[in-house]
Symmetry: D2
Subunit: 393 residues, 4 copies
């Protein structure tokens, strides 16, 4: 039993009776951020990893990651086998390796009945994504996908407002992700960047699959509406490269709601420029990752309202549960990741104990969201290749 028998999920989050053990696949910047977040939650111990297929590198990284060398494996199957053989083996896996490795790694985890979390884009091909979705569903495994932006407290609050009618009937959805790090001509040549521009590894897109997909997920997550169609123009605005660095779309969502979506890595002055705006018949919500602690909620005919992470002042109970530091004492991206890891832990515990998680407790993005992301990417590619025609998802 991972969950205390009588918890009833009291408290900010239910107390699991022990820390879950995590294995990491990948050793890049994102993997490190996730490890920090997992530790922050106090619900996880990072105990094993596939840090490199090269034995020398793996060994060096073991020290860097403070992992015992014997639990730093050369491949995913080795890790799954090695850990399965231990009494204190891992409870779950995080896949944070480049895009082209997601499918094989996730398939192996599913086959090993291992709960997992996978970076986006879920896969580079839709049929792979659908296969993962089906398998996970058949097995009942917990399969989270790292749409971490949906784990900011103020995004959760926006979702509560929008889905409880706080802006009336939705009539427009705008979302964008504007960054600037690829501005220098040689930005694409850095080792940790290069693969993102190589179709063999990154898949059919670069900017679209890397950041536009965050924007698309956020739009649906907050609005509660699936994207149904899009028109996409991809551009290489900066130095020549194999894949797009910029994409502009017009979009449609369920209930015939129109919108726009764009993403670029060439917008100097923008770094974490993920911005969401949803307008409705009575009001609107606006959020900006660079000022993630604040949410603008306008109701027509009233003063604009600024909500901030913290308790009181109309913050919904499921969002209050996410609070670590008091209102006005900022949390940030690592805390959003920690929210994701807390929900991941809770989902695993509930599955193991065969218990039902009460409504409103989990909003963790799952494999189905990951598959939707791949559908979005593929539709964008089709639209662009056909000259910007309308494509349905």
């Amino acid at each position: 039993m991972l969950l205390p028998a009588d918890s009833g999920f009291e408290g900010p989050f239910p107390d699991l009776t022990r820390r879950l053990r995590l294995g990491v696949i990948g050793a890049g910047r994102i993997a490190k951020t996730q490890a920090q977040a997992a530790r922050l939650t106090d619900r996880w111990e990072l105990v094993a990893g596939v840090l490199s297929s090269d034995a020398g590198k793996s060994s060096a990284r073991a020290a860097e990651w403070r992992l015992p060398e014997e639990r730093c494996y050369g491949s995913v199957p080795e890790m799954l086998a090695g850990e399965a053989a231990r009494e204190d083996g891992i409870d779950a896996v995080i896949i944070a390796s480049p895009n082209d490795q997601h499918f094989a790694a996730a398939s192996a985890c599913l086959a090993a009945n291992m709960d997992l979390l996978c970076e986006k884009p879920l896969t580079n091909k839709l049929d792979e994504a659908e296969q993962l979705e089906k398998t996970a569903s058949d097995n009942g495994q917990v399969f989270g996908v790292c749409y971490v932006m949906s784990c900011f407290a103020m995004i959760r609050q926006a979702r509560e407002i929008v889905q409880s009618g706080g802006i009336g009937r939705i009539n427009q959805i705008h979302v964008e992700f504007m960054q600037d790090w690829m501005t220098p001509e040689d930005a694409g040549e850095a080792a940790h960047i290069k693969w993102r521009l190589d179709p063999k590894i990154s898949g059919p897109t670069s900017c679209t699959g890397d950041i536009a997909t965050h924007a698309a997920h956020l739009a649906s997550f907050v609005s509660g509406l699936k994207m149904t169609g899009l028109r996409a123009d991809m551009h290489i605005c900066g130095a020549p490269k194999q894949l797009e660095d910029t994409v502009f779309m017009t979009t449609a969502y369920e209930q015939d709601v129109p919108g726009t979506l764009m993403a670029t890595r060439l917008a100097p002055g923008n770094r974490g420029g993920l911005r969401l705006r949803i307008f409705g018949s009575e009001g609107g919500v606006e959020w900006d990752l660079e000022h993630s602690e604040y949410l603008k909620w306008a109701r027509f005919g009233e003063p604009d309202r600024i909500l901030s992470r913290g308790q009181g002042h109309g913050i919904a109970p499921p969002v209050e549960r996410l609070v670590r530091t008091g209102r006005g004492f900022p949390e940030g991206l690592i805390e959003a990741w920690a929210n994701l890891y807390t929900e991941f832990a809770l989902a695993i515990a509930a599955r193991r104990d065969g218990r039902q998680i009460p409504d409103g407790w989990l909003a963790l993005p799952l494999v189905a969201d990951g598959a939707d992301g791949v559908r979005f990417i593929e539709a964008a590619v089709r639209s662009h290749n056909r000259g910007g025609v309308w494509e349905t998802l």
Copy 2:
């Protein structure tokens, strides 16, 4: 001689030797704002008008506008004739009546060799706009068009930065105009609004010709690049109506620069949400009408810079000339209109005196910009009607 013989345009703006006399066509809110701005400049006296074709209304409005009744005419031709017969007759006309009246009024002014300023959209049909453009050009008349947003000091500064290479090679242009006043279901029924939704008066579009055209002008004005193509989707997001209240576009400019443009009157929380962002190979500029005194100028690899209206700190000389109040003591929309009226007065004076205006002194939008605006509107209509296909301008 209107200009002092030896002025050489010294000083913040050349001193004209007498105030110019203005006749107004229209009596709505915009006409009133323009009258305030004209007075503010001290270069204009409002002395005559066509305030209504109804004699009773005209008389009442004469009092309200503090105009002598005998100079409040029942029609444009009457005003032009009446004023021509006076020694102290008007020097110029401002056309601020509904869209469908622009062409006839402007044509009459041109025929009477009267300098004029006309609200946007210039006309409801392109051939009319082109005819006005040709006549004004043949006659050498001053024919300004009210793209007033280009007259904010910080927009002028953005133009100086962008066109002098301050952001490198332009690679993206994004512009939007987001308002919320049409959010209530019955917003379109107010008397002063109704005509904006009537195709007979407003022309083929409502939101596009009213506000998206401001955004399009601003994009070209600051970037120095003409729009060459677009894809448009028009929407009625709010209550049913005959014309669109919302429009989303992807755009292209000279030198193959891609962009986006959108406009809506249904974005609660946005009132003067005219926002311009131009990104280039070395930096970017961002401006928002609601915070019109500030300009963000980012250069990659440096701290973001915030410039504000006022002297010093790198403000270009043509922009310093626009300053009325010190840095940090806000100016606003009426002052932007006043900048337009000052330039209009200067252009008239230069024409009358047969003098050349030095480079960099005038950036007043002219009839050619107005015609470009009508081309933009018609291309948007064509694109939308054909399902969002690409249309060249």
Copy 3:
């Protein structure tokens, strides 16, 4: 009769039946800004002035100001006499000359039964201020004082909120005016600045009487509470000079409300940094001149509210009357001055017609406020000279 007989003050502001005629004393930057604002209102004509005591200068300035030379006088008494002799003589005077000239000029106007508006500080000595206050009161003359910051729409809204209980019982008042223009070592040497640092002209203080007094007036204007005591430390933070460039105070207001007040011209990055914060038992209001269109209104336990100039969304009727351009289309300092000039015109018209102005229509700062300002300055000087001891006002 200046007011229409049946107006009942309908409309945004009552229509006066003719423009009032204004004479200006002084020709500096502030005088020019006021002239622009007066014209903007369409309730005033600037027709006469004392632009210089030097005949040559006066003549040159007459042209610059577009005033007939014969109405540009060499002294205040000459203007008052000359204009009194004309049928179309001036209705009122604005005193915008250096501080040391205010008393004589104002006294002469009062003696001539001329309504007037005077720059702050009202006088350089309290007994002079009190004498002016008494005379104006005895005569029933309109004697406004240029505390223009109180004429911003959002300051009026703050006042409505605070004085109608919108923040509960007031318990703290903080106000500051931070500028940076005196940062350069030689800033004090510019001709138009020099007098501000000369005790013979500027009076016993420089920064205190020039800008801290704005802050003090604003605090009382919005809170409805008079300042009752203060402790002041004056500093010369920049280049050596005869008078202070910086002042820090702790303050007290009626009902034992404590507060702070500070002002400096040496705060790089601050230009129009006049900021007001009032906190109470249920909420608070905050305003910043550099973002004058916005007002933050917090109520404890609710989202913060952002109000903006314009109609609807809870703006009080007396504030809606001040609106010229729509919400989100910025107004600025000149419009605040225009609000002051409109109220000045209205007060004069009401006096001439012997009519009562309805409650809530006028909030024009008057001579009594000017005298309070001099009391504030003198108390600050006393406190500073005694080493920062508490002084009552």
Copy 4:
């Protein structure tokens, strides 16, 4: 050896060869935040604690904190003894119990040669603080004090700018800490608040020792100037209570730099309103905890500059070392705490290994800063009690 022999402190931070073991004294909100931050760094394991002197509570909290019951002690001496007896005993202690317990706990740690971190205020009496300072200095122990606000990356950047001459000669220092949580009349009655208003526990002040002391430390930390004098007025602005909820000061720093400092818990609309402004002869810096990722740096005569946490764009190397997530992807308070815990770990490791830490690597607030904080509090009390007279520190 805790530090790798050849590290030379390469990398973002030197890799310690093992995690340090931490014991916690106190179990409140701050203790929990610190535990999260310690875990985040991956340099610490929380292994023991004094969570309550009540055995039952201690046991319950052991589970909540995931600590083995046998390492949850009933008192500080018991923990120090118990852990000293273990091979895997704690390396350091964090004291996060109420103010009145700091001295005894810290004294016991010093006596046990245990490195420690203590919450502010260091003690409730100055002689106690000085005794701790002397003992720690004699022993060479690492004794950090929790002025965590100095550990935000942008505060470190402000310090680099100011202390390298980036604003010229400092001439004003303003700092404030404005909160609103004590606004409700009954706010002081909550269990976790009550002690903060009880002089027996909280010491001679409440608001001053709790939050004004953060402001005072920050001012000196960034400016490099010690506070030399102050004038203080303490107020009870809200419900009656034994200790002040609000304090206003004028201050002086070394080199005769004047300033202001204020703090309150009754400023609705302010939560984490810790704001620092330092102005100098060439420029200024401004920072606000609620927007902790941004730093405004103005240089007179240039556009204002906005710096943000992250690499490049002029961020100083010691500040770049603090970066966890990319520019624009927010970090927050827990990351600031983690910076403090990383520096604490590094200081301990260097001490144990007998190695010198290179200049610029550590800015951890130490016991001397804690003693300065107590001097500040006592001077404020003296000043207030004598009616706001000037007190030197």
